[in-house]
């Protein structure tokens, strides 16, 4: 019954999308101005964060509020590993950096991987207490986790330089190949998970956990896998963010970051990877584009003074409208290929 022709056609489309993304990266890096490239970098990093956050929150249906914690860990790991000893001694004003912090040095690529692995291991240890019970405990524990990480960062000046944060992080991420490359790898990896028995089991856990158990699914293992995978990519996203901003401090990783990601995935459609990507572009690029609203506007003879914050008002209105008319977000639970299928069926 397996239709081989359609199977390969779908694969060709996927390959086409990946090639287009790579071409776009090359094109943007070589022709667009620095400001635009920076926005694309930002969008790419947030695509990593949103898509991986969506895996635990949307696909597996476990309401977690953790991204800011893991993003912070990723950012600090990369910062500590890539800033050299001289730079650290110069910057660390509150307390001298610990010997092991000075000794830890790594290439950017290894620093990124380590950021992901440390986040994933932390997620693994968190999941043992959290997933033993059902319900909204995960939200509370992960919310607390985010706070704890931030407070730890403020209160361990010999490692993180406290509330002053770490500056002069080598600027790798302002090079599109890093951010877009990582974004493409993340999206492919997560889609590969979703379209496998693991992804099916994750959706089954979301839809009906008891029924999933009754079909032989080890729901604890599946939730732990989703949570750790999500943390892994969030750690990497955090590392890239550190290398884009070049300076990080605990205040960057407040609950607001989680909230922003939550808006993105709900707007895009909980459970849809395509939705998470669209949501990121919509929110991140849209907010940037709407900057003109903050400035004095002259439109059809009507002149307004510049109102700082006007874009947030308009943005909120758009959010409300989208949520009123598309309750399930822009994409619902559908992916790109489901849209094509539907079109065919309608004709």
């Amino acid at each position: 019954m397996m239709n081989d022709a359609i199977f390969t056609k779908q694969r060709l489309i996927n390959l086409g999308i990946i090639i287009t993304a790579i071409w776009f990266t090359w094109y943007a890096q070589n022709t667009l101005d620095e400001y635009t490239v920076r926005i694309i970098n930002n969008v790419a990093i947030f695509i990593i964060l949103a898509v991986s956050y969506n895996l635990i929150n949307g696909v597996t249906g476990q309401f977690s509020l953790e991204p800011n914690g893991f993003v912070a860990i990723g950012a600090y790991v990369v910062a500590i590993l890539t800033v050299d000893a001289e730079g650290m001694l110069y910057q660390y004003d509150i307390e001298d950096p610990s010997a092991w912090v000075l000794a830890m040095q790594a290439e950017f690529i290894w620093a990124l991987l380590l950021a992901g692995i440390i986040s994933a291991l932390l997620a693994l240890s968190l999941s043992f207490p959290v997933f033993r019970v059902r319900g909204d405990y995960l939200a509370i524990v992960t919310l607390g986790f985010g706070f704890i990480i931030r407070i730890l960062a403020i209160n361990s000046p010999s490692i993180t330089n406290g509330s002053l944060g770490i500056n002069d992080i080598p600027e790798y991420s302002n090079y599109l190949y890093w951010t877009m490359g990582a974004a493409i790898i993340t999206v492919v990896a997560i889609l590969n998970i979703i379209y496998s028995k693991y992804g099916r089991a994750m959706k089954a856990v979301r839809d009906d956990e008891d029924a999933a158990t009754a079909m032989g699914v080890d729901t604890f293992k599946i939730k732990t896998l989703a949570f750790s995978t999500s943390a892994f990519f969030e750690g990497i996203g955090g590392g890239l963010l550190a290398a884009l901003l070049t300076s990080i401090s605990p205040d960057l990783f407040t609950f607001f970051l989680t909230f922003q990601l939550l808006i993105i995935i709900v707007l895009g459609g909980l459970g849809s990877t395509t939705g998470a990507i669209l949501g990121t572009i919509f929110v991140m690029a849209g907010l940037e584009w709407m900057r003109f609203l903050d400035e004095p506007i002259s439109f059809m003879g009507i002149e307004t003074e510049g109102t700082p914050g006007m874009r947030m008002v308009v943005f909120s209105l758009i959010l409300i409208l989208v949520m009123l008319f598309a309750r399930e977000g822009l994409m619902g639970k559908k992916e790109l290929k489901d849209l094509f299928k539907k079109k065919k069926a309608n004709k």
Binding site: K203, A214, G216, L225
Partner: protein, 255 residues
Amino acid sequence: MILEVCNVTKKFGGVTAIKDTSFHVNLKEIYGLIGPNGAGKTTMFNIITGNYEPTAGSVKFHGQRIDGIKPYKIVHRGIARTFQNIRLFKSMTVLDNVLIGFDYQATYTYFEAILRLPRFFKEERRVRERAFEIMEVLGIAEFADELATSLSYGSQRKVEIARALAANPQLLLLDEPAAGMNPQETHELAELFFKIRDEFDVTILLIEHDMKFVNKLCDRVMVLDYGKTIFEGDIKDAIKNEEVIKAYLGDFKHA
């Protein structure tokens, strides 16, 4: 003997849901659990599938004790179930619903899935072919790509049974499979169960209220009331048993 329930008691606080109940199910038999609402039939199912631990007594499957084992591990040993109120995965297609049953049988690892290594394709192909075979037998293959919850009630029941069969059980537990069906559908369902038993080599244990259906299908039955066994044995004797008729199947003579 495939399943042996020995002196099982289950208490919820002060309420005794099942009291010192024993029965056994033979290989390739169709066994019925009957009795009025609240008799403890579904509780018995939940004990067999590991969702509840019995307060006293033991459950043996192929001679090995299975009480106290985690529910998903009991599925791996060869017991699958359906639910009284249909519980399909509502955001998933019929095919994906059935494929969940193969979850523990597809042997590729997480990393093989992420990297799309050859074993992923081999295993996915294998389980998909098996899923279509099962769906063909139940007559739902044509709906493979439709959303499971968009089907008619009868077809949804079949999807649930297909899903349970996908878990490759030796013992299939069906919780009121004929509920909400008209006589015609019930008749077809009984035929389907005979076919399932023969084609998939399964033993069936079912809970049912429809006595015509039970009479047609079951080899032996157990009648429960308020957690107590009031009859166990051949269905022919059950419908003649004074106590059973008087107390629980009062309207059976007219049926």
